[in-house]
């Protein structure tokens, strides 16, 4: 009987976005914000993976600009477990860099890759699914966690399963499917054969690196050269997602269905919904006849909303947003207007 592989968790702390302006800024992405409840999403993810891995086996990949914030937010993160991503080159190079580091520290490691920009409400179900995925990975599979859809979302990639995934049973992935249009998304939902691709993966570090050598040898080489201290090597890594770089081209990709209250927290509306579930009265907020409205802020200012239901108010030191929940994706228009006015200082 072979020795059980040790599990390492890799948290991806990079990424940017404007959907949570004005709370998120170029130097402070969504992951650092407490959108899911009391804790910032990164910290919540850290706490969640500690159910499965000890702190010494949790790694964080972060851009240089976030290193200080990450260290401050995760004081138990071992300094040598913080991997700096020199520049954003999508997920394949970042994950390859992390897997190479983990494999160097622990050659037989199984790695779980977790984005830090979403919410998972049921940490126990999450742990169960990851443990199941670890078992599959130990048997050599590249494993996805696939989120069971509850609506015909057009904002996510899908995993088409070989057989209908039922319960927590692991199944084989037949195909990765890009974000569908609304009609296809409805068909996917009806068929019961599709899961959302939430970007969470579990695999043997060495197995993944082998696969990468086959599918994207340039990335593998760039990562090795970068680890060897070769300046500029990182920028030669192809900018590509791990889905395209490896998963779509690999054999033996399996998926563990995840029913753990996953939410990508993709808009202020979603953040408000999660805030409601938490049932917390917003600090310093006075809501009068304003059902479904929520206040986010950091100024400590008193915020009163009177007879305006269904809005999100976001209060920061230098900018203020009032946005209807039904159209919260339109925040982009504000970001564009600020850019047009040369107000990059607010972005």
């Amino acid at each position: 009987m072979r020795r059980r592989a040790r599990f390492h968790a890799v948290l991806l702390a990079g990424g940017s976005g404007t959907r949570f302006w004005p709370l998120s800024r170029s130097g402070r992405p969504k992951q650092l914000l407490p959108l899911g409840g009391a804790d910032p999403l990164l910290l919540a993810t850290w706490n969640r993976v500690l159910r499965i891995a000890p702190p010494a086996r949790v790694w964080v990949v972060a851009p240089r600009a976030l290193v200080r914030d990450v260290r401050r937010m995760l004081p138990r993160l071992r300094p040598d477990r913080l991997i700096v991503e020199p520049s954003p080159r999508d997920t394949a190079p970042a994950i390859a860099l992390a897997c190479a580091a983990v494999a160097a520290a622990d050659p037989g490691a199984v790695v779980g890759v977790f984005p830090t920009d979403h919410v998972i409400r049921d940490a126990a179900a999450f742990s169960r699914a990851v443990r199941k995925a670890i078992g599959e990975a130990e048997r050599g599979a590249l494993v996805c966690l696939g989120i069971r859809p509850d609506r015909p979302a057009t904002g996510f990639g899908y995993l088409r399963c070989r057989t209908r995934p039922s319960g927590e049973r692991t199944v084989e992935v037949e195909r990765f499917v890009e974000k569908p249009d609304a009609a296809r998304a409805r068909r996917f939902l009806r068929s019961g054969r599709y899961l959302w691709n939430g970007g969470m993966f579990v695999w043997g570090a060495a197995r993944f690196l082998d696969e990468l050598r086959r599918t994207e040898p340039g990335i593998r080489e760039a990562v090795e050269a970068h680890r060897a201290g070769c300046r500029g090597a990182w920028d030669r890594a192809r900018k590509i997602s791990v889905d395209y770089a490896v998963m779509e081209r690999a054999e033996g990709v399996r998926v563990v269905p995840l029913d753990a209250g996953w939410d990508d927290v993709g808009s202020w509306d979603a953040a408000a919904r999660i805030r409601e579930e938490e049932g917390k009265a917003p600090r310093g907020a006075i809501l009068v006849d304003s059902a479904g409205s929520a206040v986010f802020g950091e100024g400590g200012r008193v915020v009163a909303v009177v007879d305006v239901p269904g809005v999100v108010v976001v209060d920061t030191q230098d900018a203020l947003l009032v946005v209807s929940r039904r159209a919260s994706e339109k925040v982009r228009a504000v970001v564009e207007a600020l850019r047009a006015r040369g107000r990059e200082d607010l972005l």
Copy 2:
């Protein structure tokens, strides 16, 4: 032929209120706010009366707490024309104090009394009406400026005219009528016999003081004693409006109809309406799909409103309000909530 009396304007800068929270505070009432456009209401009133009276004949009655603000806002106000109201005792004592001061300086003076908490869009029509009122006052009348109603408002007192007031013709006032209910207000509007009492009066200073001696001798005595330096005398003056104290009981009260775009600016909704007429884009505001929304503020912060029509956003250093225009009188509920939380510092 007798010598033409000289006209003095008295601006009433006292008053308090919570309808413009959070921009108005106990130490900074509505009069000091630029609700009507670029200028604060007090300054706009000052500029308006300068069409009829030179600066040396404009007086301001203000509570002690506002003296500094008034001086700063009206640098051309003569120091001896600023009358301190020791404590708020409604309009009768304040006006009596002003008339006594004016009469002492200029015994034959005709005085115009003007609140400073409203907007008058047509300054020329205002001047015309005041000049007409001055003529009536010179012939011994106590004159009101009566605003022609354009809706069955329940928030104002009414003047019932002896005959239907048409055009700018002066008519006799038959009766002062308190704020009516909606049904009476509709009857008033239909009858064409009623004007709104906007609290603007014109009369000979001596004539008014004579009338006051007859109707409320206690106020007259308290004012004289106060002017003679008797401490505590002011607090013996009855707290009563000039309508009750004098106008309702006097003979020969006349009214000049005023069609000058008067607006009492009674709510954030009214302030937004006036702002719209001015056609000014609010500074630092970004409105996306938010017709009829307006931003008021002083923080210099960027304020973005996205897909939320018909609201007023008021941004101050320590408090923020988002209120629907259709229910902007509910701001009171916020003030009450703050009081209940012991946050008098924000009121």
